[in-house]
């Protein structure tokens, strides 16, 4: 599908913007997000697609 042999901005590795999980130890845990099974699955738990409810920087 794609040729990823080129460099990105002179660097070989591109890091996608993602939430700092370590920092979320401190700024997370409010518990207001959706329960895992309360959406379209009901038969196979996953948490990765549950958006955070908290305003983040």
């Amino acid at each position: 599908m794609r040729n990823m042999e080129e460099e990105v901005n002179g660097m070989k590795i591109k890091t996608l913007a993602s939430r700092d999980l370590k920092a979320s130890l401190e700024n997370g845990g409010c518990g207001e997000c959706q329960t895992s099974c309360q959406s379209a699955c009901k038969t196979s738990c996953g948490v990765a697609n549950q958006p955070c409810e908290k305003e983040q920087d």
Binding site: T15, L16, G28, G31, S36, C37, K42, T43, C45, A48
Partner: protein, 462 residues
């Protein structure tokens, strides 16, 4: 812990404990793998041997590459250690408020799908409808046990909840009163087979339901294989027009057209694409949950074909997105920037603690998949959770309590997986459902690849 893989021309390294995702060329990915266990000199030697004559395996280029890896490590974005043990242990001891109920308003169904985990709707018991009084008690119970949680979730489930439509409406109205009295916000959802959808139901759902889950298995012949009425007649022709009317009138609110695939349609991609051809844009397709001796149950030997289907689905989604006719697939909805915090990822699915199922007569179970199994009855709305041993078993069933998950790269994406599937497959809620794990991991690989592709194509600064 690193998970490194290549898919669709993307070479991706996932740093498990920081959650960072790195995209690179093939040689760099190999370097990321080697540098996790070898020192600088050994890594360079290996790469020079494996990539002879490659311009990027020249000493200067390799030095520059390993400097980059060191910089990522120093920034906490690569080879991050597991710093979560204290939090994980604390979660094991923590008492969660209840914030979500699966309300079984009808243990009855107007379809008779043989693959139904709920035994055609009555959960292997007698047919029953929840009374308005029991439903109100359930909402009172939820508010009373929700502590400081503001967002409360209630899913109208069954069986077929539209068989008890007046009670559903009554409970939504009651919930709106409770919101004002207690400063809570109810998010109602409804899961329906669509047989009884009419304009009044559609209008009410589109006003009041945060999400609606519409059961459709895909192509007509696939849907009608299982989703038949008591006379054996398929329901596709009846439900699809109603689902389309609901989706069109939804006005941007969430819905999912959700299917189940079985061993009979291992080519389930065609069913997902059929849903898209019908004009639906929020799609979900779940592997069947069935006893291993069922002819419909998925088997280990099916995995290569299923993996290929998930990969092709991701490629097709990317292609359609580029063509301006994209659709969402529930399991590929990963928001790397605003996804769940690590507490959520360590805590497990929440069944039996923050999430409970309520039967028509007010009995409490850890989740909908345990309903009808007497050993998993936790109590009832009158007395609350009285089976303390069971509550304790679920409360402590956090990710860290599942030894088989310890070395899995996907553990912070599934939080240990489904307790019911584990119980049914391995005999313990702390076990794992291996086939489900393999499918889950493939879906996460595809979802992250999609993110990498979309981010690359997004206008800069987006």
């Amino acid at each position: 812990m690193i998970h490194a893989y290549s898919l669709g021309g993307y070479h991706i390294a996932l740093d498990v404990y920081s959650g960072s995702v790195h995209v690179m060329d093939g040689l760099s990915l190999r370097a990321v793998r080697l540098f996790e266990r070898l020192d600088r000199r050994q890594t360079m030697e290996c790469l020079r041997k494996e990539y002879p004559g490659h311009p990027d395996s020249e000493p200067e280029a390799l030095k520059s590459l390993l400097d980059e890896l060191d910089a990522l490590k120093d920034a906490g974005l690569l080879y991050s250690p597991d710093d979560y043990s204290r939090c994980a242990n604390r979660l094991r001891e923590k008492d969660s408020p209840v914030k979500a109920l699966c309300l079984h308003v009808a243990h009855a169904c107007n379809l008779a799908c043989s693959y139904c985990f709920a035994g055609q709707g009555n959960y292997h018991g007698s047919s029953a409808l929840m009374s308005l009084e029991t439903g109100r008690k359930a909402l009172d119970f939820l508010v009373a046990h929700s502590g400081g949680r503001r967002n409360l979730e209630v899913d109208f489930f069954g069986g077929e909840p539209l068989l008890n439509w007046d009670v559903v409406k009554g409970l939504v109205h009651y919930g709106r009163e409770l919101e004002k009295q207690h400063g809570k916000a109810f998010r109602f959802t409804l899961t329906t087979n669509g047989v009884l959808l009419n304009e009044e139901v559609i209008d009410f759902c589109n006003r009041e339901m945060h999400n609606v889950v519409l059961s459709l298995d895909g192509r007509p012949e696939v849907h009608d294989r299982f989703r038949v009425d008591r006379q054996g007649r398929g329901s596709y022709g009846q439900v699809v027009p109603a689902f389309r009317r609901l989706a069109e009138a939804r006005g941007g609110k969430g819905y999912y057209v959700r299917g189940t695939y079985t061993r009979n349609n291992l080519d389930f991609l065609r069913d997902v694409l059929h849903m898209a051809e019908l004009g639906f844009t929020q799609l979900s397709m779940e592997p069947v949950v069935a006893p291993s001796d069922s002819p419909d149950a998925l088997k280990e030997e099916d995995l290569p074909q299923l993996f290929e289907q998930y990969e092709q689905l991701a490629f097709e989604m990317l292609k359609r997105k580029r063509e301006g006719r994209g659709f969402d697939f529930y399991h590929y909805n990963i928001d790397l920037r605003h996804g769940p915090c690590v507490h959520k990822r360590l805590a497990g699915c929440g069944s039996g603690t923050e999430y409970l199922s309520v039967t028509p007569n007010g009995d409490l179970y850890p989740c909908h998949q345990f309903v009808g199994e007497e050993a998993f009855r936790m109590g009832d709305l009158g007395s609350g959770v009285t089976n303390r041993a069971l509550r304790e078993a679920f409360r402590s069933n956090v990710l860290a309590s599942r030894p088989e998950c310890e070395n899995c790269w996907a553990k912070l994406y599934c939080a240990g997986g489904c307790a019911a599937n584990a119980s049914h497959a391995a005999g313990s809620i702390r076990g794992v459902y291996r086939l489900g794990c393999e499918l889950f991991k493939k879906r996460i690989e595809c979802a992250i690849m999609l993110q990498a592709a979309l981010e690359e194509e997004a206008p800069s600064g987006a």
